[in-house]
């Protein structure tokens, strides 16, 4: 299955959340891979702590592959090449976890031509053969990466694909997430222009809320009562706003709580971080784990 991670704004937590989902899915025993289609800033190697690809690869990554310069993009086996001890040995029963980095110094494509779509189609088809989950991290906003993904998937109707729209839990982000999907030149418009069926595509899109502060969370005990009340009320208002804009509960796949570790560092949260050093919250891991299951759970994706 192909899963595309997109957000209207930058810095929403798209990369960190989708990487953690991929990691959880691998631990659940599935073969997964992660494609860095954020062509403007290929940095996803940093989250997996693969030093050779922290700012993209020099060995020929997705940029050069899509431009037709190399026959196959470099792949990195995270279980082998990560610098983090906790990631460097594959737990028994876990699936493959492979990273496809962009090129170091690579940039956004100003446009794309037919051959690039063709190469993208071939890549997706080949990865689908090998991996249960193919996660594609797209650039923020209305990008050529997103158009390329829409054009390629329109030509692969037999391969199941799903879209995750990440957004933070604020007024601006809720409106922006809705706009990215339904606004002019949004995903649905662009998808239709590239040959997708609008309603079918809409059925394949779900929202993910990131870094959400739960007004009832234990960490907030230190707040003054006036602050707590305000938070609860504002949270309710946001929920109303979200459901008015089609970003509400029914179209939401899940939410990830605000986590102190992620606040400070972009990384995968391992069980060691929760149970060993106890720096991360167990709720965060539970949220990632749930998302990893829901992505492939057809019940969560029934037509709205």
């Amino acid at each position: 299955m192909l899963v595309f991670a997109i957000s209207d704004k930058g810095g929403t937590g798209r990369s960190v959340t989708s990487s953690n989902i991929v990691y959880r899915r691998a631990l659940q025993g599935q073969d997964v891979c992660y494609l860095d289609f954020d062509f403007g800033s290929p940095t996803v190697g940093a989250i997996f702590r693969v030093s050779g690809a922290a700012r993209g690869t020099l060995k020929g990554g997705l940029h050069r592959y899509l431009e037709g310069e190399i026959a196959e993009p470099t792949r990195i086996d995270v279980w082998v090449e990560s610098d983090r001890d906790a990631l460097r040995s594959k737990p028994p029963g876990a699936g493959q976890m492979v990273l496809f980095p962009g090129d170091e110094g690579g940039a956004e494509f100003p446009t794309f031509e037919g051959e690039m779509v063709e190469r993208c189609v071939r890549l997706f088809a080949k990865l689908q053969e090998q991996f249960d989950l193919v996660m594609v991290d797209l650039s923020a906003g209305r990008s050529h990466a997103a158009l390329l993904a829409l054009a390629a998937t329109a030509r692969l109707p037999k391969i199941p694909c799903r879209w995750l729209v990440f957004h933070r839990w604020t007024r601006q982000h809720i409106l922006a997430a809705d706009g990215l999907v339904t606004g002019t030149h949004g995903l649905l418009d662009a998808g239709e222009a590239h040959g997708h069926h609008r309603a079918l595509l809409a059925d394949r899109i779900r929202f993910v809320r990131t870094a959400v502060l739960d007004p009832g969370a234990a960490e907030l005990d230190g707040l003054r009562d006036t602050q707590k009340t305000w938070l609860s009320e504002f949270d309710r208002e946001l929920r109303e706003l979200a459901s008015r804009h089609g970003v509400g509960r029914t179209s939401m796949l899940g939410k990830v709580p605000l986590d102190p570790v992620l606040q400070w560092r972009e990384q995968l949260i391992t069980d060691e971080d929760v149970q060993g050093t106890m720096i991360a919250n167990v709720e965060t891991v539970v949220a990632f784990d749930e998302l990893a299951k829901k992505i492939v759970d057809d019940a969560a994706w029934e037509g709205l």
Partner: protein, 307 residues
């Protein structure tokens, strides 16, 4: 003269076994040429040969600049309606002149690459088997790869294979000499084979390489499935569920040497002694079958002694 080639092997992207009636359309890559189908001892379909022109540096272990011009032959096959192989190879010979000739000269010699200048067969063979960085030298793999993609994209395939699997890449070199074969298992998906054969080169050598690649892939794939099933660690029913697709799709495909010319059969037999493909396969298959037997037994016991 040196012959070198690469075979890519993978699972055909279809939920069910592809029936004989569909094989001709899936492998019909050349109008006016029949897909060759044989039914004994296993359903096997072979596409017509395709040609690709190349003019580039050949791989060299000594990093020598060796230019070759000619055509690469490729073909694709499907075994048991399940496993797809795409295979490309060239015969490297010395050119009679030091410069490139009109293209029709090479077209009249399908599958031959002529070396302009000096080249040592051993150096070429070592360079080729080193799986160097792509993009610098002759890349027969990219041709096989492309062909594989074309076949997997066939209209009649639903792209919903019963399990995920990885393609293997087997590179081989062959030269005439005292008959022998060496098989080296690489780290990831890479395999290396060196063959020496008696007499003239014929496609029987290619058949042998494809048969080796097929069985190596079956073994590799079953090993991964068995490892993932976590026999002993996961609940029995879960283990059986994970093993089931392999049982349905793969177990009956094991037929080493089935389509090999009798003159090359001893080579297969030597590989059966060491590393012993069939021995390993059989022990794996027994493990899989035992799991099913134990699981069935457990189910039966539960039925007869309900708790």
């Amino acid at each position: 003269m040196l012959i070198m080639g690469e075979v890519r092997t993978g699972l055909l992207q279809n939920s069910a076994e592809v029936p004989e009636s569909d094989l001709s359309s899936v492998l019909g890559l050349l109008a006016g040429e029949r897909v060759r189908i044989s039914r004994r001892p296993i359903l096997h379909a072979l596409s017509p040969d395709l040609l690709t022109g190349v003019d580039c540096l050949l791989p060299s272990a000594a990093q020598a600049k060796i230019r070759g011009v000619g055509t690469v032959v490729s073909r694709c096959s499907i075994t048991g309606g399940r496993v797809v192989q795409s295979s490309s190879y060239v015969r490297v010979t010395k050119a009679e002149t030091g410069h490139r000739l009109p293209w029709s000269h090479y077209l009249a010699r399908p599958g031959v690459i002529e070396v302009l200048g000096k080249a040592a067969a051993a150096d070429l063979a070592d360079g080729f088997l080193a799986f160097g960085l792509p993009g610098e030298h002759l890349d027969v793999g990219s041709i096989s790869d492309r062909l594989m993609d074309t076949v997997q994209a066939a209209e009649s395939l639903d792209r919903a294979s019963p399990f995920r699997s990885t393609q293997t890449r087997l590179r081989w070199v062959a030269a005439s000499g005292e008959p022998g074969v060496r098989f080296v298992l690489g780290e990831g998906v890479e395999r290396r084979v060196r063959i020496t054969y008696e007499g003239e080169f014929s496609t029987a050598v290619l058949d042998l390489c494809e048969d080796l690649a097929l069985h190596d892939w079956l073994l590799t794939t079953l090993l991964v499935i068995v490892e993932r099933a976590r026999i002993g660690a996961a609940p029995r029913a879960e283990v059986s569920a994970r093993l089931a697709p392999a049982v349905d799709a793969l177990l009956h495909l094991w037929m080493p040497g089935a389509r090999i010319h009798p003159s090359l059969a001893p080579l297969w037999e030597s590989l059966e002694l060491a590393p012993g493909f069939t021995r390993q396969w059989q022990s794996l298959v027994e493990r899989v079958r035992d799991q099913f037997a134990v699981n069935t037994l457990a189910l039966l016991l539960r039925e007869t002694n309900p708790v």
